[in-house]
Amino acid sequence: MSAVGRRMGRLEDRRLLRGLGHFVDDVNRVGQLWMRVFRSPHAHARITSVQTDEALALPGVEAVLTGEDIAWARPIPVRTRTKHQLDNFLQPVLARDRVRYVGEPIAVVLAEDPYLAEDAVELIRVEYEELPVVLDARSAIEADDSRSLDGFESEAATLSMGYGDVEEAFRSAAHVVEIEVKIGRHSGVPLETRGLVADYDAGSDHLTIWGATKVPHFNRRVLSQMLGMPLNRISMKKSDAGGGFGVRGEFYPEDFLVPYLARETGRPVKWIEDRAENLVAANHSREQVHRISAAFDEEHRLLGLHDEVWQDNGAYIRTHGVIVPDLTLAMLPGPYRVPAYEGVAHVALTNKTPCGTYRGPGRYESTFAREHLLDVAAARLGIDRLELRRINLLETSELPHTRPLSTLGTDVVLDAGDYEGLLDKALDRSGFDGWEKEARELRAEGRLVGTGVGYFLEKSGTGPYEEAIVEVDPTGSVRVITGGASLGQGIETVLAQIAADQLSVPPEEIEVVHTETDLLPDGVGSWASRSTVVGGSAVMLAAKATAEKALRVATTMLEAATEDLRLESARVRVDGSPDKSVSLGEIAAACEPHSGLAEGEESGLGARRTFSVDHMTYPYGVHLAQVEVDPETGGVEIRRYFVAYEVGRAVNPTLVEGQLVGGAAQGLGGALLEEFRYDDSGQPLAATFIDYMEPTAAEVPRVETLICEDAPSPDNPLGLKGAGEGGTVGCGAAVVSAVEDALGMPGSIKALPVSPSKIRALLRESDRAGSTAAEAASFSS
């Protein structure tokens, strides 16, 4: 049986569930110092002085570093290709003259233990001159508040894209519907906070670093440039990671400071972020306002879409550049036939923690805006909301569908798909008719129960390439080395499954290594749902090449013709001669130099391969929800939740389901609970897990899933589409759709997250309106 497609538990769990994992905080080096960051307590201020004497005088403190000490250090560069000029908005490693958000690093302390380090940070004296704060993206841009940002323009970039004659579409439309919605500021918030350990060996001028995730190879390049060290003098070592979600693993100020200070002091340096830091220091995401409108003809066909977006990017442009607004605009038309489209995104700088990507970046936001618009349109046009979607979904015959848009440096070409077919399957499998009927019946009893739908288009498998090495040693042990990274998503299992089929070795026996730059010096990393699609394809190529080499060498060993050989159960066998075979280990031994059995072959059994791809692949799916609103408390209970997702081919359906369910937990958090709010002075109000409300097991409903494999991607050998983000993307749309259905108030919810307080406010308002209407009626009668 093929290993690809098999449901199997995560191989990682063999160590993780026994407490044998190695996380960055498990790394301890002899003689290490602990780093602690002094962070700005003000959202916007001029720094007038920084005094470090007292901190330095504390016994056990080794060093204190301020922005002045590393004035030469360049700001942190953008990782992703962009045509926008963003150099003026990049974050310095340590602030010098000015701080722009609460939590911005100003200085760091190195001490013998983390307690002393925190004591010492309290002894650093910084004087500030507080400045006015900018906290609202749109009003900042409209007021052109650049003066208060001191030279920073409030609008760091303006993105626009589109095609077709949008003006004409709206002019000739039978119906135009416009809404304005906001998506709250929330983010990934992995349970394992960030951390880094660096050890510098002066004798060999070599840095070894633990704790890099997501894009270790990229971060190594940045570090090499910033430290002026050759790439091959920097080794990134693997560790387990307790969640990434796009947030963890990017190059942050600490990713420079820890290795730099290890080199400067000659002692290992360790830094483990605490939760209070994490909530103000690691990337935020999502906060956008959309003013979106659609033009329809008489038959309710979309003629055009227009969207204007204000993105609150926080204080700086970080490594993601303007990827989030870029993806927002590029993905906004979704799975629909949209003859004309125009999207504009204003990227505003504010005095908040800077933003980056978070699981489903741009899609969570644009899916909510677009699907909500369709719900409101359906209500206004008096048409069934599912029917409106069916009318406008692209048909299979229209795919592949090229949109004159590009994002992440590649054109948008929607590959294989059957959008309406997936909707039918989802409605059928979930029993959605029954959900709706039940909701109607319960509403008739006076309860506020409703159903909702959020159709989405995903993107995955971002190139341009990934690397993989497959090695078989003379004992027969197989090792796969990937340029991707493990963030807890199960990539080790999936890559083992892919290699297993090529080598005829059980996946359980294959070791998968990631984030080891000494073993594989190049890689693109784990983001954009690309590790299985692109990384897996590279592993497949490398494993296939390894199997081919094994067969070649075996022809000499077994004195048989290639066409008579087959690889089966980790042995090359000769057809028709059951006792003639050699194991992969024996072949590997034969591949050692001087064996005389592998003439003309490079030594060793294995191969390194690169898989390159031009276009992304576009999965799609639908979220369905049934909710009940408690009219008295405004609380929302999710009674039923269903995610259907087209994945091309599921390497491990159990892990795909895990991705969908885990993704939904995060998406639902953003829909109902999680929000980084600030007070009027720019102080964060969600600085602990009491106020930043991630859903717990008690709040996350049972999420039913349907994995579809009806439209394999033509862009990679296994037909894979990425599965990492689809569970998240449709949540905002489906939940709001269901809540408004329950309330019977289409278009009433204008912002995520939907809090009980806001629902009560809506109901109070409608009660008042209702009683006013009743009074008016009684007067007139």
């Binding site: 983390p114 609380g635 109902l672 709010r677 717990t696 809090s755 009980p756 406010a761 109070r764």
Partner: protein, 288 residues
């Protein structure tokens, strides 16, 4: 999130704890379950010079009858013991404690946190503080001056502020009168979170009429807030939804709750009405 340096001591008996507190001075604190104190220390919001760990003091974990019909709870009794209370004699008058225990934090907190610790912490939305205020509990504290009994009505002074002296340790909390018709209801956005609003009520009923009632709200003020206006509505009224709703509306009218991330002041007023009504319904339906 590492605490500032502190001295750690372990007490073997109540007198020992009091002696050590006296010796160490005002900046020392007692450590029991640590479920509120330790996070606050990690944030350096509190910086005790010393902790006297009382968790190992024997004989302070109990739920027992008190003076005939009452209940006394040893200060170091974990919340979880209250949740698991099974003695039918105690449950007859005090099942409200068992029913309310499920609202106390999460399972690990209920396992480690202590009844006396919660009262000493004095969080105005804490379930035990509300029930202490509701049921006229008596807080028994031992200090260098000996033992004293503090009525709950005099105990809570403000956010995390109580009548306890720096050298005093709570040893017991007594509930003198059974409350067969009492209930606590609360609303939070997540299981285990602090209540946005909590209402604790007790009813004294006879022949379908309410003879007297008591209503206490949490989450709307800096102490567990008794609402006499709502209580007056109930006195002499027919037991039932109408009176309960009226009491809720009255409570909503008189409270002046703060606005925060969880909800506006107006929202908390709405919730006050709902929680009072729901608690009254539960109390009326519960005959022990």
């Amino acid at each position: 999130m590492k605490p500032a340096a502190f001295e750690y001591r372990r007490a073997t008996a109540v007198e020992d704890a009091v002696d050590q507190l006296t010796e160490l001075g005002d900046e020392a604190k007692l450590l029991a379950g640590g479920q509120s104190l330790v996070p606050m220390m990690n944030f350096r919001l509190v910086r005790p010079s010393a902790l006297v760990d009382v968790a190992g003091i024997p004989d302070l974990q109990y739920l027992e009858p008190h003076d005939g019909r009452g209940l006394k709870i040893g200060a170091l009794t974990p919340h979880r013991w209250v949740e698991e209370m099974e003695d039918p004699e105690l449950l007859e008058g005090f099942s409200v404690l068992k029913r309310a225990a499920r609202w106390v934090g999460h399972y690990p907190i209920r396992t480690l946190g202590t009844f006396g610790g919660s009262i000493a912490h004095g969080d105005p939305s804490a379930e035990w503080c509300l029930l202490a205020a509701l049921l006229d509990a008596e807080v028994v504290a031992v200090g260098s001056g000996g033992e004293r009994v503090i009525p709950a009505s005099d105990f809570f002074h403000g956010f995390f502020m109580t009548a306890l002296e720096p050298d005093e340790m709570i040893v017991e909390v007594r509930f003198p009168q059974p409350a067969p018709n009492a209930a606590l209801q609360e609303f939070a956005r997540r299981a285990g979170d602090y209540a946005i609003v909590a209402a604790a009520v007790t009813l004294d009923m006879e022949d379908g009429k309410c003879r007297s009632a008591r209503v206490v709200l949490g989450g709307v003020a800096d102490v567990p807030l008794r609402v006499p206006e709502a209580e007056r509505v109930l006195e002499g009224a027919d037991v039932g939804r109408e009176a309960f709703e009226e009491a809720g509306r009255e409570a909503a009218k008189v409270v002046d709750p703060p606005s925060d991330v969880q909800g506006t002041s107006e929202y908390r007023r709405d919730l006050s009405a709902v929680m009072v009504r729901r608690a009254l319904e539960e109390a009326a339906g519960d005959v022990g």
